[in-house]
Each structure stands twice: as structure tokens, then as C-alpha cells.
Symmetry: C2
Subunit: 159 residues, 2 copies
């Protein structure tokens, strides 16, 4: 990973400047963090992660940059099921796989007959047929490998 960091930095600089923004330290470090980890950080978590990786950012600068980066389409803002605002480097449409134990969220695609799913009315008098339908966004819920292992640990020792 460290091997192509310098090259990454050049690439990032280009992508940032293409959008008419100055490629400052702060912006490069934010994008690096997101690209390297594929995680969906909250601003608070990002602040912490950036602090650990070297000199910290001011909270105002972080928010200002998250705003610029997302309004120029370099990152995507969304609100997780926990209600916290999070950011994703993956600006392509995609789905989410969410661990119901630890809350970890992974970007995924989908295989299967997505196109044949249709909404079905739950209340009388609701006219779904007149809606013009578009994209479907999926949330897969499950338990991640790490949390399965943790559950297994908790059961076996006593057996």
C-alpha cells in the first residue's frame, strides 16, 4: 500500500484540481483515508483517524472540506441507519451489507433478478400503480465474520 502512496497522491491531486479545488494537505489526507480503508466514517471518526495518522485537522476545516468534496462529487454523503452522517468514496450507485452486531457497513453490488421486484400496497386505497418506478436500493442485514467468531468464542469455552 505504502509503495504507491506517492503515485496515489499525484492521482488524488489531479482528481481534486479537476473539480476546481486546490489540492491541499487536508483534502488529500481525507481522500487517502477513505480510499485506503473503504470505510464509511462519520466526521468525528474521521477526525480521530486523521489524528492517529499524523497532525490533526480542525473540526471546522474537516466539515468545510467534507462539504466541498461531496458537493463536487468526489465523495458521497449519506446517513447511516444509526442516524449518523457518513461519507463514502464510492460515488457509484451501490448497495449496503450491514452487520447487525457491530454496525459495520460494506459496499456491495447484487446478483439476482432485481428487476422483477415490485412494491405491494399494505393499505387499502394506496395506489402504487401510478408511481413511476426507478432505482431500488438494497440493505442486506447480517452478521460479519468477526462478530460470528466473537459469538462462537462466547459459547464454546463454557461447553
Amino acid at each position: 500500500m505504502g509503495v504507491f502512496m506517492a503515485c496515489e497522491r499525484e492521482h488524488l491531486t489531479k482528481r481534486i484540481e479537476e473539480r476546481g479545488l486546490r489540492a491541499t494537505e487536508a483534502r488529500c489526507r481525507i481522500l487517502e483515508l477513505l480510499h485506503e480503508t473503504h470505510q464509511h466514517y462519520t466526521p468525528e471518526e474521521m477526525l480521530e483517524a486523521l489524528r492517529e495518522r499524523g497532525r490533526p485537522l480542525s473540526i471546522a476545516t474537516l466539515y468545510q472540506n467534507l462539504q466541498k468534496l461531496s458537493e463536487t462529487g468526489l465523495i458521497a454523503r449519506f446517513v447511516g441507519p444509526d442516524g449518523h452522517t457518513r461519507y463514502d468514496v464510492n460515488t457509484q450507485p451501490h448497495h449496503h451489507l450491514i452487520c447487525k452486531i457491530c454496525g459495520r457497513m460494506v459496499d456491495v453490488g447484487v446478483t439476482g433478478p432485481l428487476g422483477s421486484l415490485r412494491p405491494r400496497a399494505l393499505f387499502e386505497g394506496e395506489d402504487l400503480d401510478s408511481w413511476r418506478l426507478g432505482e431500488i436500493h438494497l440493505e442486506f442485514h447480517g452478521v460479519c465474520p468477526e462478530c460470528q467468531a466473537r459469538q462462537a468464542d462466547r459459547e464454546k469455552p463454557t461447553a
Copy 2:
């Protein structure tokens, strides 16, 4: 609707007391609002709607009651795609149909082969096979009949 209001009130009272809460005016009025409209109100919107329907609730009382009602399972709290906390009388698992113009959200079921959908990894080294998969939650995005009409109005007059 007004016909079985009194009966509704009795029914609500019973449901509230079953959960060990006192069936106060405030609680009945909150549940009535949600049951009658099937809407997904934010606290702010609820305050406004309740004000219009008669004597207003204090904001603290509203929040306190939304907390009690959702922690006892009488209503469900969730965070909409706009990031606002919303409440739903439908505590059964269900999906959402969302108008991408006005943001209106309708509870729906689904028809089609939901069970044959599988998440697909988007990054190398991501091991989805070891996840234990559970429920899938769908968000159908589209344009509601009202917004389609509004769009049509905007186009035709000039033609």
C-alpha cells in the same frame, strides 16, 4: 373516519396501558395522528400537525413520549434518507417507496423473488461468503402520482 374515533380512542387506550404506560391525552393524540395519516413524521412536523388539530404539545413532552412509545414498541423510530428522525406506526418489518421529488415515503411490501438476491463483492479481498445473511430491506425510489402531475403541468402549458 370520525365515525369510529371514540372506539379508536378506547382501543388505543388499551394498547397503551398494555405496555404499562398511562394513556394520557398526549399519547393518544400522537398515536391517533400516526394511525390516521400513515405518514412518517419528524418530531417537528408532528408538533405542527398536533397544533393544527387542537391544543399544542410542549416539545419536551413530545420527545419524551416518542421515546416511551418507541421503546415500548408502539411505534418505530427510524432515520429517513434525508437524515431526519421519523416515526412509523407500522412496527412490522416492511419496505419503503420514496418519491425522489417530494420525499414522500410510503410503507410497502414486496412481490418477487427476494430470496434469490445475493450481495456481490465490489472490492478484491472482500469475503462476503463468510457473512451470515439475514433480512433484506428495500428502498424503492420513484416519482409519486402527484409529482408526475406537477411535472406534466409544467411542460404542457408552453407546448
